[in-house]
Symmetry: C2
Subunit: 263 residues, 2 copies
């Protein structure tokens, strides 16, 4: 039964995606946190090779924080070799360099390689070693490439779930088209230059009746200062209305001054 239903409660069973293989994980919480991190970035194929922690694991369920679609479908294997048996391209995460002839990739480069191989129709995966020791050399030897995340050489002990989230994040990023910077000005009604000029005119009109412009000479310069200030602020229409309301209130509706309440 589980076999036939398998794909259906996954996020997108049709889209091929990399398998995440945790080798001999020791701590149930880390498996749960890894499952949650995977689902955050759309990955659902989690495999455990010879888990050291008990499995199933209540602490993993708790740490997965609702990512049961991943946790309920975890496949366990007796060995790393068995866990990657069906895969055609594998990368292995390592904290330190190994003396092996394998390309060493950043997480960004690994994400690109994974996507390129998937696009070519290959079954791919990523190996993560046990918390304390990392992968054995003969496990790294199974891989086509090594992934090493550049980090502070003075404190390079990265938590297992943190390593998973970084690789999953880069995998998602490589297929994501969110613009680096989004600005809501357009959508929220950015003010036109005429809106700003009209506000300025309003302010100058009201200020002419006060001591703000001390002399004609000074008037010119202060108007220019205001103009620069207003045009630099990328105001939106609603803000222009707010500021005109402030000017209006200060000139027409002002009641006797009272002590300002501290916010």
């Amino acid at each position: 039964m589980a076999g036939t239903d398998r794909g259906q409660d996954r996020a997108d069973p049709k889209a091929p995606q990399p398998a995440v293989v945790l080798v001999r994980p020791q701590i149930g919480e880390n498996v749960g946190a890894a499952a949650r991190a995977m689902l955050n970035f759309g990955l659902t194929d989690l495999r455990l090779a010879a888990p050291v922690c008990a499995w199933p694991n209540a602490k993993a369920v708790n740490a997965a924080s609702g990512a049961s679609v991943v946790l309920n479908e975890v496949d366990t294997f007796a060995s790393t070799r068995a866990a990657v048996g069906d895969l055609q391209w594998v990368c292995a995460t390592t904290a330190r360099p190994r003396e092996m002839i394998k390309p060493v990739l950043t997480a960004v480069a690994a994400a690109e390689e994974l996507r390129a191989r998937l696009a070519a129709g290959l079954r791919v995966g990523i190996l993560f070693g046990p918390e304390r020791t990392g992968l054995e050399n003969d496990e790294v030897a199974l891989a086509d490439a090594v992934v090493t995340i550049p980090l502070n050489p003075g404190f390079a002990s990265l938590n297992l779930a943190q390593a998973v989230v970084l690789v999953a994040y880069e995998y998602f990023q490589a297929g994501d088209s969110t613009p680096a910077v989004q600005d809501d000005h357009e959508r929220l009604g950015r003010a036109s230059k005429a809106d700003i000029t009209s506000l300025l005119d309003h302010m100058v009109r009201e200020l002419d009746g006060t001591s703000f412009f001390r002399s004609d000479d000074r008037r010119e310069r202060r108007i220019q200062e205001l103009e620069l200030l207003l045009h630099r602020r990328e105001l939106r229409v609603a803000e222009i209305h707010t500021l005109r309301g402030v000017v209006k209130a200060l000139t027409q509706e002002r009641r006797p001054a009272r002590r300002r309440q501290s916010v």
Copy 2:
């Protein structure tokens, strides 16, 4: 005493870096995991605004896994406003868009902005909201920009420490020059074309005494197959020696076949 020693046990007290401000954190483990993640990427200025969890916190120490250089120097503040009081540019992480006129940045763009402002001599920081609710709108209003990490819209609940590690990672990446792909071939002695030709000659010499080349016509083709195979493999000198040793052993030293032991 703590005040005067403060900078000295930080990773690099001279280098200006962004402050990480956790607003009303609820779970001690998350503060500890955030401290560890920060130090992984060289950040040490951790601030807590109105922490809900007890502080100091034994579970935080445990989760920090040795990042005491960060944890021992945590500054706590009564409010978010107080925690960012000395800062001149701040970005606020949010899971969902807010109707505010602020640029919305990916983590990559935020890292670039942070570095650019630091390079210009500004004091900068990153706000992270409480686990369950995220930042309040009036806290986001304090920020110059919003950071939203693109993720699976179907499961967008990112753990607090995971959010911290992603932003810290991108901050580190933006200043890191590790090549995307490193290949050890050069350093480990990549074989020259002559090394490969010499191996091929050795193989052909030995194979000529066997049934491998059935006819002269076939010989030409099979030699070409071997040549393609060997030149495609990016072999190193040591591997050429290994393969020549295999050929030598198979032709000169072979003892009566015995059943191969399974590895």
